[in-house]
């Protein structure tokens, strides 16, 4: 079925908005990454000369090593505690019925509206794919890169 001019325009505006948001989010990362290869201590953009000396200095910097090690320790403990608490809560939510359990399940799991397969495709209960399913499909595919097993 051919799409109308309104739908085409809406698709173009949507893609432009996504590009704008991605640019807004990724531009600081690009600027900081380029600035890290600057040869001089005084910031010049774009850099006049490229160098890796700041990275050598960063690796040798004791405060950075301590901060990174502390970050790893905090992350390990918080992940472990979150995993244990989350697993226990998921078990209780699945096996028992208590006040607001259905509401919590609807908010956290969204099992009543759609399911997500391991390949990342969402199947909605309604014939039309909902926006929530699309967002969740995108989120699943984005987070499965690093976090979830593929």
């Amino acid at each position: 079925m051919p799409r109308s001019t309104y739908q085409l325009g809406l698709g173009f505006v949507g893609k432009f908005a996504v590009l704008l948001i991605l640019g807004f989010l990724l531009l600081p990362v690009a600027v900081v990454t380029i600035a890290a290869f600057n040869d001089r201590a005084i910031l010049s953009f774009p850099p006049q000369a490229w160098s890796l000396r700041w990275f050598a200095k960063a690796i040798a910097y004791q405060d950075f090593r301590d901060a990174f090690r502390n970050g790893l320790i905090v992350t390990a403990w918080s992940s472990t505690i979150a995993l244990l608490v989350g697993a226990m809560f998921a078990f209780a939510l699945d096996r028992y019925r208590f006040r607001f359990s259905k509401l919590i399940e609807a908010i956290c799991c969204r099992r009543s509206s759609f399911r997500i397969s391991r390949s990342g495709s969402a199947s909605s209960s309604s014939p039309r794919r909902s926006a929530g399913a699309a967002v969740s499909r995108w989120w699943y595919s984005a987070t499965s890169c690093w976090c979830c097993p593929s």
Binding site: V32, T33, A35, A36, F37, N38, R40, A41, L43, W54, F55, K57, A58, I59, Y61, D63, F64, A67, F68, N70, G71, L72, V74, W146, C147, P149, S150
Partner: protein, 50 residues
Amino acid sequence: MISNLVYQLGFASSNFPFAASLCVAGLALTIVVLSMLRLAARPLDNIRAH
């Protein structure tokens, strides 16, 4: 921790390239650690829900 360090170096000491290198190095090291954890957790892929 690292963010305080970056803030101090970038804005208090005005050494922006060094602060930027700390950011990039921290990001790269985090990605390396996450990749190693994912490799270590690969046997868990075989677990199926019942």
